[in-house]
């Protein structure tokens, strides 16, 4: 990735993160959407530490390799927790919040166990391999959970504009990210493909910030308007 383009994308991502944290503090939503804020804060810290190690140790160093995979794993877990926090808010009226959280913990432990089992079978039992395996698997579980969450939003006729738009932004982010990963595998020779992931990473905090700034907690919308193709 070209250094200057990478730096511009990194800066946009950092500004997006700062915008989201600032807008949630201004709107008094920091604690209400604590896990989303936590994810964005962790993402900014990970970006800063990656950038620092990249500048001081270089792209090919083992330090960068470790920092990259461990922060990636941590971020995926944080994003998973953010998805669950949105799910428990959607299910809270059905008094299913605790049930959703218990399932999420089981899912997280199950995915970690599965990833460990996969890594343990290989001859190189590297801890970074475990981190990357866990990250990928949790990412997929997060993607499936977001789809289920979107189904629940439609089924339960969720009307809270902020919640709906945050779930939709997550869905957009997950699908685009999965697509860009696949595109890297299919067409890795095109340099532009390498920028897709980092660019998409900027989208999430910006869209969340936009939602917080544009809509109050009381804003509601008509659920029938949300279905992509009305039945």
């Amino acid at each position: 990735m070209s250094d200057s383009i990478g730096l511009v994308i990194w800066l946009v991502g950092m500004i997006g993160g700062v915008c989201f944290i600032t807008s949630s503090l201004i709107r008094g939503s920091f604690l209400k959407y604590f896990f989303l804020n936590l994810y964005v804060l962790l993402s900014m810290s990970a970006d800063l530490s990656r950038q620092y190690v990249l500048r001081t140790r270089g792209l090919q160093s083992s330090e960068y390799y470790y920092v990259y995979y461990y922060t990636d794993c941590l971020l995926t877990i944080a994003l998973f927790v953010a998805v669950i926090s949105l799910a428990s808010r959607i299910f809270e009226e059905l008094k299913l919040g605790r049930f959703v959280r218990s399932i999420a913990v089981l899912l997280l432990l199950g995915t970690a166990g599965f990833s460990y089992a996969v890594v343990a079978q290989s001859s190189e039992r590297l801890s970074t391999t475990f981190a990357s395996e866990l990250s990928q698997n949790l990412y997929f579980v997060g993607l499936v959970l977001t789809y289920l969450l979107w189904g629940a939003v439609l089924k339960l006729h969720e009307t809270r504009t902020r919640l709906v738009q945050m779930v939709l932004a997550l869905g957009l982010y997950f699908s685009a990210y999965a697509g860009s990963y696949a595109l890297v595998n299919v067409a890795s020779k095109y340099e532009v493909v390498q920028y897709l992931g980092p660019i998409l990473g900027c989208f999430l905090p910006i869209s969340w910030a936009m939602t917080l700034l544009r809509h109050s907690e009381e804003a509601r919308l008509t659920p029938a308007r949300l279905v992509a193709v009305p039945r």
Binding site: Y147, W150, T161, V164, Q165, L168, A169, G171, L172, S175, A176, A178, G179, Y181, A182, L183, N185, V186, I206, M210, L213, R214, H215, A219, L221, T222, R225, L226, V227, A228, V229, P230
Partner: protein
């Protein structure tokens, strides 16, 4: 093979989420009616139709910018272009898509008209403040 399958699947779901996200943006403006001022300058009669969008956007660019509207208008603009593309390509093979696309373009025009109303109100406020000074 697997990567191609994931790519195709994620493009489909991306489209689904994109349409739903844009619909959630335009839906938030649906319960705000178009002001008399906007009706006067744009010529919108009862409700906005798809072709009003371009005219409303032209007038919007003449008004002072409201930063809080900017990103929403950009996304809705992208959605409008996507709908045009759908209408010109996909709808030729599947004509049933056309009325749906037109309905969606009308909601984009309504969204832009509501934003124009807010900008005109801001313009008036700024003018009133200048007169006071």
């Amino acid at each position: 093979m697997m990567a191609a399958f994931i790519l195709a699947f994620s493009v489909l779901t991306l489209l689904m989420f994109f349409v739903s996200y844009c619909r959630s943006l335009t839906a938030s403006s649906l319960h705000t009616s178009i002001t008399e001022d906007v009706r006067d300058v744009t010529g919108i009669q009862v409700r906005a139709v798809g072709r009003d969008y371009a005219r409303v956007m032209q007038i919007l660019q003449l008004c002072p910018d409201r930063p809080e509207d900017r990103s929403g208008l950009q996304i809705v603009g992208a959605y409008y272009s996507f709908l045009n593309l759908l209408d010109q390509g996909f709808a030729r093979m599947f004509p049933a898509v056309r009325p749906w696309a037109e309905e969606e373009r009308a909601s984009c025009a309504h969204y832009a008209a509501v934003a124009l109303g807010r900008r005109i109100a801001l313009n008036r406020e700024m003018l009133a403040q200048q007169v006071e000074l």
